[in-house]
Symmetry: C2
């Protein structure tokens, strides 16, 4: 379809811009409430001094997430999408003009909470990070395949609730591997900081690999 | 847009069909994993003998939900949407042909897990039921307004996890009321059966009101 072709061209333009500025770019995707904002806020603090992040966040309404993300100390730009349920490359290109990139080497994009559409829209990112919380059920990778198939990384969030939810870890990992065999999996909790150090090491490796 | 106009016409056709067959029709909407399938399965068992349900369930992939819903004893028809992130009136019209409606007076439609698009697609239903689990965060009604504004009912699910999640009941109720002041709110747990009797009474009242 013409819309996706146009989007893919603009995504490549973004990608070129990101490479020129030496930015490692992450696109965070999940269902509403899986914990994107909380994870980004908690993990950004731990990335200094090697990685210095800027953040773009997309939402239909409110600047709640932008305000919470600013608590991390990183510069944050919000894209208000109104009724559009996903971010597009053009929106990100425009938002970049509002972000002071000086001194930054990491760009984090928090997409709109939606486990379907955003999978089709390349934004020019290096890595697609899909979050799955232990509260949503272990079958989501099988039921929403396009999103998980497009994932470079799957981050399991809210592990502190695993016991309370009766979370079946083996089933969840098997379902992720079935749909996204190449994806790297992290098991985390933004509340207890479980898994955040391993995540930081992974990002540093990714940054080194792209130099 | 022409797509929605066509959908709205077909929705009215569905609505006429439902009225002629004396069916009370519910459209269940939520984020992925909020608990639609579990709630429908647990509540359908408690509706007999006054209400006898048939179920249509939409999913991108797998028949997991259809199989779980069949455990309730109700006839279930699945719509596999592939990559479409919402149900449309035409899909429901076609699915009806596969459902034996004899003896049924209630039709439950479980929509695709998505807190955005499905709000724009009338299916011909009498009531829109939006689920919000205590695990997703209290701000979802403010951040995804179109869905909650279209809700006749908001069902808060997984109340058994409220304590573990630090769920702020006052904030959640205030946010729902701000966006959907007319919506009826139920606080439930499919695990402990909290709220299911009140829900049954509400449905019986709705059925009586439409006779
Ligand atoms: N127990 C626990 N709760 C968490 C954790 N991370 C997030 N939450 C809670 O989960 C809810 C949703 O978190 P958010 O960070 O807003 O989720 P999100 O994916 O950014 O949501 P949207 O942007 O609306 O799609 C909030 O109530 C958080 O407090 C965690 O690690 N453990
Ligand atoms: N503790 C608890 N867990 C629940 C409850 N209801 C559902 N769950 C769990 O929440 C997860 C998701 O439930 P589902 O019923 O599959 O959710 P859904 O909204 O139908 O999901 P999709 O159809 O994929 O959008 C599963 O792991 C359920 O066991 C509840 O009342 N309490
Ligand atoms: Mg967020
Ligand atoms: Mg379901
Ligand atoms: Zn979309
Ligand atoms: Zn859609």
């Amino acid at each position: 379809r013409a819309i996706l072709e146009k989007n893919d061209r603009l995504a490549e333009r973004n990608r070129g811009f990101f490479r020129a500025r030496g930015l490692l770019v992450l696109n965070f995707l999940s269902s509403p409430g899986s914990g994107k904002t909380t994870f980004i806020r908690e993990s950004v603090r731990k990335l200094a001094p090697e990685l210095k992040a800027g953040i773009i966040v997309g939402d239909l309404a409110t600047d709640n997430d932008a305000q919470r993300l600013r608590e991390s100390g990183a510069p944050v730009v919000q894209i208000t999408t109104g009724t559009v349920c996903h971010l597009e490359a053009e929106m990100v290109g425009r938002a970049l003009q509002r972000l002071d990139l000086a001194g930054l080497n990491l760009l984090i994009i928090e997409n709109v909470g939606n486990l379907v559409c955003p999978a089709s829209y390349d934004l020019g990112e290096d890595l697609r990070i899909v979050l799955l919380s232990v509260t949503e059920g272990e079958d989501k990778p099988l039921k929403y395949p396009p999103m998980f198939q497009s994932a470079d990384v799957v981050i399991i969030t809210k592990m502190d609730l695993a016991q309370a939810c009766g979370y079946d870890r083996d089933a969840a990992l098997a379902n992720i591997r079935r749909v996204a065999p190449k994806a790297r999996i992290f098991e985390t909790s933004a509340k207890t900081a479980q898994g955040l150090d391993t995540w930081r090491e992974y990002l540093l490796q990714q940054q080194q690999a792209r130099k």
